[in-house]
């Protein structure tokens, strides 16, 4: 059985719940007072859906502005990107549009995009309407789903949907080579050029 490796990264403003979504997905747990992520955290999760084995390699990036410049490092080699916003914070949805624009310009053209409206359990405090987000996603051909890491709503389906779309994409593009049991769908657009710095100017 082929293992489909999926490299994906989570982007979005600080405090929208990127790490919470990942934790819900990987450990199926929720911490109400999640700490800030420092830099980026790397997690993996293997799951079997419809007879296919998906191995997710997840980069959970930090949302603070100072890490903004590092984002390309994570989305450049990724097959999929999840842009998370907080449905109770209009400004975080605004950031989604900026991320979409940036990914369009700099990421691989085949990257699968997903927009996740997190904190879906806080319906009373909603600031971003479902329709608005749906329209935005449609115009970019992205998956759109509202999730709640706290109440475990739609988190797994978010990842499954990405997996499904990626494998379909791959099937139409090329047939898996018969002798390899690992099918890699990382859509690397050539190795990124490394500017090797010497050891800090010494």
């Amino acid at each position: 059985m082929a293992v489909i490796e999926i490299k994906l990264c989570l982007l979005g403003d600080s405090g929208v719940g990127k790490s919470s979504i990942v934790h819900r997905f990987v450990y199926d747990s929720f911490r109400p007072y999640m700490e800030n992520t420092i830099g980026a955290a790397f997690l993996t999760k293997t799951m079997i859906v419809e007879g296919r084995t998906y191995k997710f390699q997840i980069w959970d990036t930090a949302g603070q502005e100072k890490y903004r410049a590092l984002a390309p490092m994570y989305y450049r080699g990724a097959a999929a990107a999840i842009i998370v916003y907080d449905i109770t914070r209009e400004s975080s949805f605004h950031a989604v549009k900026l991320w979409l624009a940036e990914l369009k310009r700099h990421a691989s053209p085949n990257i699968v995009l997903a927009i996740a409206g997190n904190k879906n359990d806080l319906e009373d405090l909603r600031e971003v309407s479902y329709q608005e987000a749906q329209d935005c996603a449609k115009s970019h051909g992205a998956i759109m789903i509202e999730t709640s890491a706290k109440s475990a709503i739609n988190v797994a389906s978010l990842f499954v949907e990405i997996g499904r779309r990626l494998s379909n994409l791959d099937m139409t593009m090329s047939l898996p080579s018969s002798n390899s049991n690992a099918l890699n769908v990382n859509q690397r657009t050539g190795q990124d050029v490394k500017g090797r710095r010497k050891c800090c100017g010494f």
Partner: protein, 597 residues
């Protein structure tokens, strides 16, 4: 009661340099600066950026003495009787300096009505007081203009504004309603005022960046005053170092882009406070790098740096908390996890062999502010100041426990202008040891992740992991192991390796309050011995609750605490025994060789 410090000649010879316990055997593991070097470095940095005309500057410690003795109510925290006699030791020195009083009006500070004098010390104040020291009327004028622009009608007294603890009895004409604007109300709340130590970071333009207690936005005026004080003294080609007002000490660290201020009523010396501010400054650099800081402020003079530092407040809070209880900061030394040499060597070898990666600079294994092992690239040393920032980052960030992390970090002593990339991962869920692999290549994450897996395999195979966990669980050793009944506690620093060791706190230092008092005593002892104007070799003081003995040679520093009734010969005898014990245990307590990749 206290006695004059005695300089021993006989005991000095007993441990020749290089043979004292914990002396490094081959090349150094950690680069070292002595405390004097750091004091020198602090001074040099401050001078260089702020006194362009090259006026001779006074030594930090010199003027310190003057201020130390100028406050009559200066005692070591919690009724320790060590102090009065000690202060007299230095009194001859302080008469040489003409203290300049910025404000001479005796104001009531807080609740006690003791007379207090506000003393300001600046860089060049000692040499040309007339020229450089501002008189009180100038400052008053400046401050009142400042407050006028805020819309408050009354003139402000220096004491009142820059001192959170001052009472506002001097302005009877102002009604309570006028005075208690929300901001001032906040600043005057007892809870805020009574904090032992306030730390503020602001930009050169006076924009708030960080404060230890409270909300920066509500303290904007206070930040304004601090900026005014700094720039006022700067306008006369001088730079402010500290102000002493009653129980409070206001210490300023002025760097190229930032101003850091400590306001403390902890009786710590200004050198120690300055050192703490330097740690905080380095923490900022470790997040942003000096070059980025320069770029930001050159582009936008009044940039709000909080945007870039958001999410890191916890690192600062944690650093400040730890600095208030961990002697490693003022000793500028690192504590190692006690471990059998064979185990430590195996661990180091497992790391060195499995992490042979080009561009990997350091591999560090730590636990809870203690070093387990450090493997480094040839020719690159790690400075204790940098290592403390790493300790702090790891202890302040719970999220490293959940997943492997990859983050840029700047080590200011290594290179203040560039980032290293750190792979951070705990060894095992059951074990509190954290592995950091630092590289200059930002694309090495997966390579390093693979290294960690191999290292883990090796450590498990050799049962090293179990030994490490066991040692972490056991914690620090007991003083009774040394077999010296009259000795209560000690700090021993090997100067050549920049490592120190101390036993765990036992009776009578189990309560938080007593531990804090002991910490302050150590700080005071350290300060007195390293005081630049009168450095001491040995210091023996008797207090109400304990007797302290400090001994510094070119190879080590030892600070020991005995019961109050211990005599001098007995104490000397005990520390000789202690040195022999440490020598015997040195392989376990220190890292004496320095593995490289």
């Amino acid at each position: 009661m206290a006695e004059e410090p005695v300089v021993s000649s006989a005991n000095d010879d007993e441990f020749k340099q290089g043979s004292e316990p914990g002396a490094c055997r081959n090349s150094m593991l950690i680069a070292t600066d002595s405390y004097e070097d750091i004091a020198q470095y602090l001074k040099a940095d401050v001078c260089q950026s702020d006194v362009p005309n090259g006026k001779s500057t006074s030594v930090v410690g010199d003027a310190d003495d003057a201020s130390e003795t100028s406050t009559p109510d200066q005692t070591v925290k919690c009724q320790n009787r060590v102090d009065p006699e000690e202060t007299s030791v230095c009194s001859e020195q302080c008469t040489q300096y003409d203290r300049q009083e910025v404000s001479s009006d005796d104001s009531a500070v807080g609740d006690n009505s003791e007379e207090t004098a506000t003393t300001a010390v600046t860089e060049t104040g000692q040499n040309s007081p007339k020229e450089t020291l501002p008189d009180i009327s100038c400052i008053n004028r400046q401050l009142s203009s400042l407050s006028a622009s805020d819309g408050s009608p009354h003139s402000v007294d220096t004491d009142q504004v820059c001192q959170p603890a001052s009472s506002d009895v001097t302005e009877p004409s102002v009604t309570a309603e006028e005075y208690l604007s929300p901001e001032l109300d906040y600043v005057h709340s007892a809870q805020w005022k009574n904090q032992d130590k306030h730390i503020f970071i602001l930009s050169k333009a006076g924009k708030p960046i960080y404060c230890r207690y409270g909300d920066e936005d509500r303290l904007v005026t206070l930040f304004g005053v601090m900026q005014a004080l700094v720039s006022f003294i700067q306008s006369s080609k001088d730079s402010i170092r500290y102000i002493v007002a009653g129980d409070h000490k206001f210490v300023f660290l002025v760097r190229e882009h930032l101003i850091l201020v400590a306001i403390a009523q902890t009786k710590e010396s200004s050198t120690h406070l300055l050192l703490q501010l330097t740690y905080i400054y380095n923490q900022v650099l470790s997040i942003l790098t000096l070059s980025q800081l320069g770029r930001i402020f050159n582009m936008l003079h009044n940039y709000d740096l909080r945007r870039l530092l958001s999410g890191t407040e916890k690192t600062f809070d944690n650093l400040l908390n730890v600095m208030n209880q961990d002697p490693s900061f003022f000793l500028c030394a690192v504590r190692c996890l006690p471990l059998e040499t064979s185990v430590r060597d195996t661990v180091a070898q497992s790391i060195a062999q499995n992490a042979k990666v080009k561009d990997l600079v350091y591999a560090i294994l730590i636990t809870n502010h203690q070093l387990i092992t450090l493997v480094r690239m040839k020719h690159y040393f790690l400075h204790p100041l940098d290592l403390h920032l790493i300790f702090n980052l790891v202890s302040a960030t719970e999220s490293f426990k959940a997943a492997e992390s990859w983050t840029p970090i700047c080590l200011p002593k290594f290179d203040s202008n560039g980032y290293l990339h750190a792979y951070i991962s705990y060894l095992d869920e059951s074990c509190d040891a954290c592995l950091l692999l630092l590289t200059v290549d930002k694309d090495l994450f997966f390579t390093l992740s693979d290294c960690k897996r191999k290292i883990m395999e090796k450590l498990t195979k050799h049962h090293s992991l179990k030994a490490i966990c066991e040692s972490i669980r056991r914690g620090n050793y007991c003083i009774s192991e040394a077999g010296i009944p009259e000795l209560r506690h000690f700090l021993y620093k090997s100067r050549s390796t920049a490592q120190f060791t101390s036993p765990k706190f036992e009776v009578p230092y189990t309560a938080e309050e007593d531990r804090q008092r002991l910490f302050r005593l150590y700080q005071h002892l350290h300060y007195r011995i390293h005081c630049n104007s009168r450095p001491l070799k040995i210091m023996f003081t008797v207090g109400e609750y304990e007797t302290l003995l400090g001994w510094v040679t070119s190879g080590f520093e030892l600070y020991a605490v005995f019961g109050p009734l211990v005599t001098k010969p007995l104490a000397i005898n005990s520390i000789n025994k202690l040195l022999k014990w440490i020598k015997k245990e040195e392989d376990r307590l220190f890292i004496l060789n320095s593995p490289t990749f």
